[in-house]
């Protein structure tokens, strides 16, 4: 593996990591924004969606990120296995 290939692989890795962190921030803000104030009448759909949706979204994000990272590594010939 050449140094150029390794540099490209690291650049892609940084982009992916940054993208994952930005996506995390957006997800957290989005789900928090769904929650209304306490004491609103009726079923608190926003709260329920936020409480269940945030963990699902975060879990999907981590496993998506792990898969994408391995594809980057494979594309640059640096897959650990």
């Amino acid at each position: 593996m050449s140094d150029i290939g390794e540099a490209e692989r690291w650049r892609d890795t940084v982009r992916l990591s940054l993208g994952a962190v930005v996506a995390l921030v957006i997800l957290v803000l989005f789900f928090l924004s769904l929650v209304g104030a306490s004491g609103q009448p009726g079923y608190p759909l926003g709260l329920v969606v936020a409480i269940s949706g945030l963990p699902i979204a975060c879990g999907v994000l981590v496993f998506w990120y792990a898969r994408r990272q391995e594809r980057i590594d494979q594309r640059h010939g640096l897959y650990e296995n």
Binding site: F31, G59, L78
Partner: protein
């Protein structure tokens, strides 16, 4: 001859069977309860069968190898490693999160978001690089990265400041629950917890905390889920409390007066304004990604990809607890409004008086030890009309620990919740004591003062350190529990300020120098820890931040200043000092490269 991976998988199956057997055992005890089995016997049976199982597993998982003791032979599959990682942090969502949701739904949601975001950050910016480095503790990793033993010493100091209060707080929770549910004297409960922590960590180190921690996580998650699911079925005919709690929430929405909350031990539920809640969530996220006992678990994964997925699985298991907590809070609030508010004093439930005598509930500012005492404290109007919501205040911790009693579920579930709380506390305690002892024994003594020591001697040193740390934590539990708790809530902030900037910059900014890292860590951790200590021990009023918080920056959220400070100092000092040489650059490239070759050397040999 089985490989380590085959051995772990075999044990995983065995331990799945153990979990199934435990569920069956609880069902049998529940049936015996219907035939008059005394509550005390029920509690002893449910709790003792779990702790004896942990002790047996801890001894069975003993090891004489360095790799086994420090890294569980680097052979723990992602799902299993994630379960053990979740166990190491479950004490927080178990004991504190439902109370946080009960006090303020935004606080609960912010804490949930902080926890989950922390595991995402762990997977993305910390775990893979830690795994690749070949380090066996967080200070060891930093020493590999920056190539100077001084950073090892400073990192160990920060690690102890972060982890020791967490260890003390976890042991206190375990001993407090054991003392109350088993009717043990307080000292006896502390000794019992001390012995259990030693048995589960001393002989097998991370190998034992992997196996035992997994079992403890299963018990803790069952203890949260089973009561919530049963109540959800009983009240709404649908076994998903994460959905049905909305109906409980809607049923209480018209009650504008809130039931009061007494400050709990696990989460700072009182006195946080909007800024502090948000800052606490951010600090929790950075702290989870930097906690030494959580980062160290990445080293047990078989490879870098599995290290990433371990953090993902940990997130999944923590999410089970985090999504159940709001259901516990909503169901408990509904039960209190239905069974306590407006009820004739003579018909108040027994649990109100039981927990009142234990100091976990106040009515009109006094302990409700009897109906007459309530009448005296609240006045004649209450005797006629019953209590109103604002008359009542309960400990935030009670929302989980007293859930079965409050909602009228069978006593066996109170015992199950107690067993879960003890499991979560023991798992957190064992993980933190292993991290502290590994750092003291390996990073300070073996690496700095006895570099030529054999593997056997290194293990002896670490085990002696582990005994000493556990005894020190037990002393804290007995003499300074309140201080430990008060500081433990600031531990994520201190961990974040001390480690997060250098973990991020050290990997993603090649210009980071040893001096930059050293001073950034020292400054961030010191400023945060000193501020938190002065606030929690009353030497300093929380400092207001103009335009953001008039109430002042909470100790739990102090990292919101400490983390940026750590970043700034690391960057400035790095720019002012000579750029890293080619040797350091090669080490950094090797850590970044996802190849099987170790960086310099694998310290687990």
């Amino acid at each position: 001859m089985t490989t380590p991976i085959e051995e772990v998988r075999r044990l995983g199956k065995a331990y799945g069977l153990l979990a199934a057997a435990f569920v069956l055992f609880v069902l049998v005890i529940a049936m015996l309860g219907q035939f008059g089995l005394p509550d005390t016997v029920t509690a002893v049976l449910v709790v003792m069968v779990t702790v004896v199982t942990y002790a047996i597993m801890g001894v069975v998982a003993r090891t004489l190898s360095i790799s086994g003791f420090f890294l569980s032979d680097r052979a723990v599959p992602a799902g299993f490693n994630g379960l053990a990682t979740a166990a190491a942090v479950l004490a927080l969502p178990f004991a504190g999160l439902a109370g946080a949701y009960f006090a303020d739904r935004m606080l609960g949601l912010a804490a949930t978001a902080g926890l989950l975001a922390g595991f995402v950050l762990l997977a993305v910016v910390v775990a893979p690089y830690y795994r690749k480095s070949g380090g066996i503790t967080l200070p060891d990793y930093l020493a590999v990265r920056f190539g100077n033993p001084l950073i090892r010493v400073v990192a160990v100091a920060i690690l102890v400041v972060v982890s020791l209060p967490v260890l003390g707080a976890a042991m206190w929770v375990g001993s407090d629950v054991a003392a109350s549910v088993l009717h043990l004297p307080r000292h006896a409960a502390t000794i019992a917890v001390l012995v259990l922590v030693l048995i589960t960590a001393l002989f097998g180190g991370m190998r034992a905390t992997t196996f035992v921690g997994g079992a403890q996580a299963v018990v803790a998650l069952l203890a949260l889920l089973v009561p919530a699911v049963l109540l959800s079925i009983q009240e709404y005919g649908f076994p998903v409390p994460q959905i049905t709690f909305g109906y409980a929430d809607a049923a209480t929405a018209s009650v504008t007066e809130a039931v009061g909350v007494l400050a709990g031990k696990a989460l700072p539920v009182a006195g946080l304004d909007g800024f502090n809640v948000l800052a606490f969530a951010v600090c929790l996220a950075f702290g989870v990604a930097s906690f030494p006992h959580l980062v160290a678990r990445a080293g047990a994964a078989p490879n870098i990809g599995e290290a990433r997925r371990s953090a993902g699985w940990a997130l999944v298991f923590v999410a089970i607890a985090a999504t159940t907590a709001p259901a516990l809070a909503a169901f408990a609030r509904l039960a209190i409004l239905r069974d306590v508010v407006g009820v004739d004093l003579a018909d108040l439930p027994d649990w109100l008086f039981d927990y009142g005598r234990a100091g976990l509930i106040e009515v009109c500012g006094a302990a409700p030890i009897s109906a007459a005492a309530i009448g005296t404290a609240c006045g004649a109007g209450t005797v006629v009309k019953g209590l109103i919501p604002t008359d009542i205040a309960l400990s935030a911790d009670l929302v989980t620990l007293g859930f079965a009693d409050i909602t009228g579920l069978p006593y066996v579930l109170t015992a199950l919740i107690a067993a879960g709380a003890i499991a979560a506390a023991l798992a957190t305690a064992a993980a933190t004591v292993t991290a502290i002892a590994a750092s003291l024994g390996n990073d300070l003594i073996s690496r700095l003062f006895a570099r030529r020591g054999s593997a056997g001697r290194r293990l002896v040193v670490v085990r002696v350190a582990l005994i000493a740390v556990t005894l020190a934590a037990a002393w804290i539990v007995e003499h300074h529990a309140d201080e430990a708790f008060a500081f433990a809530v600031a531990a994520p902030s201190v961990a974040a300020a001390g480690f997060f900037p250098v973990l991020v910059l050290g990997m993603f900014w090649g210009r980071t120098t040893f001096w930059g890292a050293l001073l950034g860590m020292s400054t961030g951790a010191t400023v945060t820890a000193v501020y938190a200590a002065m606030v929690v021990w009353g030497d300093l009023a929380p400092v207001p931040i103009a335009g953001l918080t008039e109430a002042g920056l909470s100790a739990a959220a102090a990292g919101i200043v400490g983390v940026p400070l750590g970043f700034v100092v690391t960057i400035l000092v790095s720019l002012l000092t000579a750029a890293p040489g080619i040797g350091r650059r090669e080490v950094l490239d090797a850590i970044r490269r996802p190849s099987p070759d170790p960086v310099l050397e694998d310290h687990a040999t």
